[in-house]
């Protein structure tokens, strides 16, 4: 089967690759170096990121194997076939709720960085509301739009990161990276839990399976997609430590953003590179949020079969908005993110793993 046929509305492997990468890269990378440095010393945190990334890739593989076993079926159908209808309903609704909070978290992230780096007077509520409205516009159409959007935005985001790194090379001090391997292995493992948080997002495959046209290639495409965030995170980590040193990194709010602040555009064409950085970073945050919103809608659609998509989106939006407004300060936002991450590990990693195990043990398979 070809990856594209005239007039179709399905997604091929490249779209899957780009979407997984874009979904995973989100708000987490901005704070990642800080949360890693909090428990590890010197530059050793990269081992944690590496372990976390490998772990995430393992689970990506599991999710991909699970969905490849049931071509053109979503989580609701798969769970229904493996563990029965009632539990399937429960988990689908839970998944929808989890994805909704994910949307809220990303939205809040956009608002807080905009407040910090773009404008300081516009209220958070308005920033979030505008973002949500654009999100609704995005999810009102077919899901394949979002995949195509990802293929458009991913190169821009990666290019931006490389510009960021390139311009920081002059600030990079190799001495900051010394000494190597001084952290206790328990701390490393503890920190790798933090990094796993930044790697969730690949579970979207559980629902997008219905429009992916080459089920056999999902595993490869999504693993490659996970490789992008892994490399990006490692580079970001090395650069923040190399530029700021572990002590400073541990004490700034968004270390990755501070990297952007360092940059001086050659020729003085414009100043404050961080504003540009954030404007473009909104692209990936938007994609993450839009896909999460879309998956949330897909989950609800599979439960409430008669509901119309746009109606659901409009009904969900106020709830998302309320969730967005719950955290009162940055600490609460972080805590909020942590809870979402636990939910992600539960629903996006453990649950599919159990499903796959049960499916293999009981020999359940989906028809092509």
């Amino acid at each position: 089967m070809k990856s594209f046929e005239y007039g179709d509305r399905e997604v091929g492997t490249y779209e899957v690759f780009a979407s997984v990468a874009n979904m995973v890269i989100g708000f987490g990378v901005l704070t990642l170096p800080r949360s890693i440095v909090e428990t590890t010393s010197s530059v050793d945190g990269w081992i944690s990121i590496f372990i976390g990334g490998l772990g995430a890739m393992l689970f990506t593989w599991i999710v991909a194997k699970l969905v490849a076993r049931f071509p053109k079926r979503n989580l609701h159908d798969i769970a229904g076939a493996v563990i029965g209808k009632p539990l399937a309903y429960l988990f689908t609704v839970l998944f929808a709720g989890y994805m909704m909070t994910f949307v809220a978290y990303e939205t809040r992230g956009v608002a807080s960085i905009s407040r910090l780096y773009l404008f300081d007077r516009t209220p958070v509520e308005v920033i979030c509301l505008v973002f949500l409205l654009v999100l609704i516009y995005a999810v009102a159409g077919p899901s394949v739009t979002l995949f195509r959007l990802n293929t458009l935005f991913l190169p821009i985001v990666i290019l931006l990161l490389f510009v960021l790194f390139l311009m920081n090379i002059s600030f990079f001090e190799f001495d900051q990276l010394m000494p190597f391997f001084v952290t206790d292995w328990q701390d490393l493992v503890l920190a790798s839990k933090e990094s796993v948080f930044s790697f969730i997002g690949f579970e979207i495959l559980l629902f997008y399976n219905t429009i992916i046209n080459q089920p056999k290639k999902i595993a490869k495409a999504s693993m490659l997609g996970m490789l992008i965030p892994l490399v990006v995170y490692l580079l970001v980590f090395f650069f923040t430590i190399g530029v700021f040193g572990p002590e400073v990194t541990g004490n700034v709010l968004y270390p990755t953003a501070e990297l952007a602040k360092q940059v001086e555009v050659p020729g003085g064409f414009f100043e404050r590179f961080e504003s540009i950085f954030f404007s473009v970073w909104v692209l990936t945050l938007f994609n993450t949020a839009a896909m999460a919103f879309d998956v949330s809608l897909l989950a609800l659609e599979s439960v409430f079969k008669k509901a119309k998509r746009t109606t659901l989106a409009f009904w969900l939006a106020p709830f998302v908005f309320l969730i967005v407004m719950q955290p009162q300060n940055l600490i609460e936002i972080e805590l909020f993110g942590e809870w979402i991450s636990y939910a992600g590990i539960g629903l996006g990693m453990v649950f599919p793993a159990i499903l796959l195990l049960l499916a293999i043990m009981r020999g359940v398979k989906g028809r092509a």
Binding site: Y6, R9, I127, V134, A138, R148, L152, R272, V280
Partner: protein
């Protein structure tokens, strides 16, 4: 199996059988009375005996069926009718003499075999066909006792000659442009592509206008589903008249809500020919020089035939320049608004000082200033288009220079704003497709509004919305953003850059053509 999820908004209107194909005689018999005099009288009665209706009877002797010719004076070539039809009839009658009796059918056979020396004709039994043909300049030949009518091609009227296309001038490239006559346009196409598989499918659109519409394609290149879809949509057209191909475009395009053109129009035969060779389908309409190319992608809005005529490096660089022009035309005024009203810190200090100094006396916020200037410019442009050429230039000078200068002097706008507006205007002229330029103009104003409310954040959200819209659009089943997304890496060679010809060995992959090689098959049978 291809899966179709077309937006079939056309399904509402019932399919009309109006589009009777040429050469296919309609089977409804009984429209033509046996007697020539009755038949002609019938036509005269239906048309209410206009002055320009010419009827001419030619009769042989007794027992030989008489004939009649009906045509419209201004539309038909009367000389040709006299020299070829009437004289050949007379020759036939004199050859037959008084010797025998003859039926209409026999006379027709004789004429057909020996005497009638016209270039093209067809037969019909349908009164509608006769009327349409006569009213489009053909001559109808009635033969007594024959239940068919010969429609003889005798169209001739004074039209524009083939001139250089006004709206799409090129520095290098053929100077021929389409004109209003569909015959000429088809000839221009035939001259460009001498492929035996080049097909012209003729339809008639408009219940009253009855204009000739031709769907042109190459049979062994085009994707059959695309062709079928185009035909299906053309067949659903149900309107009294289609004055211009723009009407057709709006009736068959995928989304009527989008500001972007989903069907490209051109008056350049070379552009049409290259589109057909890419596996696209082209619609030509009688009475307009503008041909429609479908499907259209976003990328093709920024392409110009010249990219292919110049060497690849020049073509590529000019194309990159156009993409920059698109970006500037879309965002430059809004970036100015955002920077001046929200992110002053992003402007380099020295420039910030000079902008601040220039804006010292300006009483309005940046948005109002920008809107004032943009609006003035749009007015000037619109006025310039309407006026005759020499005056149009005056308007440009008076408007552009005098108003701009005076507005700055009067302290209504800052000089920087004039620069911004001027650069934006110049960039928007650099976009080859006029209708795409309009789309970016509309979106520019939206971006300006959002920029005035949310600064850079507003601009980026607007750009995201535009991207969402673009990735949702389809043109005849082909996603609008192909080959960018869904990605076709092979087609990227002819997207932002125009790779050397030796690398463009295949037709666009996203067109899913039957025959995909452009090079390396010199010997190809029909």
């Amino acid at each position: 199996m291809p899966r179709f999820l077309f937006r079939n908004h056309n399904k509402r209107s019932p399919l009309r059988k109006d589009g009777v194909k040429q050469g296919e005689a309609s089977s409804s018999s009984g429209d033509i009375p046996g007697s020539v005099h009755e038949a002609v009288a019938n036509i005269v009665r239906i048309l209410d005996a206009p002055d320009d209706l010419v009827t001419r009877f030619v009769s042989g002797g007794d027992g030989i069926p008489s004939c009649a010719i009906v045509c419209i004076a201004g539309l038909s070539d009367l000389n040709m009718i006299n020299e070829q039809i009437v004289s050949s009839l007379q020759q036939a009658f004199s050859a037959i003499g008084h010797t025998e009796k003859m039926s209409g059918q026999e006379l027709y056979g004789l004429l057909n075999k020996q005497f009638l020396s016209v270039q093209k004709y067809k037969t019909t039994r349908s009164l509608d066909d006769i009327l349409v043909s006569v009213l489009s300049g053909d001559a109808a030949l009635f033969i007594d006792g024959l239940d068919q009518v010969l429609l003889i091609g005798s169209k001739k009227w004074t039209g524009r000659s083939v001139e250089e296309p006004q709206t799409e001038a090129l520095v290098r490239g053929p100077r021929e442009g389409f004109n209003e006559s569909i015959e000429t346009n088809l000839i221009l196409l035939r001259r460009a592509i001498r492929d035996p598989k080049l097909r012209f499918d003729t339809y008639r659109v408009g219940a009253r206008g009855k204009k000739e519409l031709v769907i042109a394609y190459i049979e062994n290149i085009v994707h059959p589903d695309l062709l079928q879809e185009v035909k299906r949509r053309v067949e659903t057209i149900d309107i009294d008249d289609a004055p211009e191909s723009g009407t057709i475009e709006q009736l068959i395009q995928d989304s009527f809500l989008s500001p972007f053109p989903l069907i490209l129009h051109t008056e350049r035969p070379d552009k049409v020919a290259s589109a057909i060779l890419q596996g696209k389908v082209v619609i030509l309409l009688d009475g307009t020089p503008f041909a429609l190319i479908m499907p259209t992608t976003f990328v093709s809005l920024v392409q110009s035939p010249e990219d292919y005529y110049e060497r690849w490096l020049i073509g590529s660089l000019i194309r990159i320049l156009r993409y920059i022009a698109v970006f500037i035309s879309l965002t430059f005024p809004s970036l100015y608004i955002a920077l001046v009203s929200f992110h002053q810190g992003m402007i380099p200090s020295k420039l910030a000082f000079s902008i601040a100094a220039a804006r010292e006396g300006v009483p309005f916020p940046a948005v109002v200033e920008a809107f004032l200037m943009e609006l003035t410019l749009e007015l000037l442009r619109e006025a310039g288009v309407r006026l005759p050429k020499p005056i149009g230039q005056t308007i440009g000078i008076v408007g552009g220079l005098v108003i701009g200068e005076a507005a700055v002097q009067a302290g209504i706008v800052s000089p920087i704003m004039v620069i911004v507006v001027a650069v934006t205007a110049v960039s928007s002229f650099a976009i080859p497709s006029y209708s795409a330029g309009i789309a970016f103009r509309i979106l520019r104003f939206i971006t300006m509004i959002t920029a005035s409310m949310f600064g850079l954040y507003g601009i980026i959200l607007t750009l995201i919305m535009i991207c969402i819209h673009l990735s949702r659009l389809q043109s005849f089943g082909v996603p609008y953003l192909t080959p960018l997304s869904p990605g076709f890496s092979r087609d990227w060679r002819d997207m932002v850059i125009r790779a050397p010809y030796t690398m463009l060995t295949k037709r666009p992959q996203f067109m899913q053509t039957k025959d995909d090689s452009r090079m390396g098959n010199r010997r190809r049978g029909p």
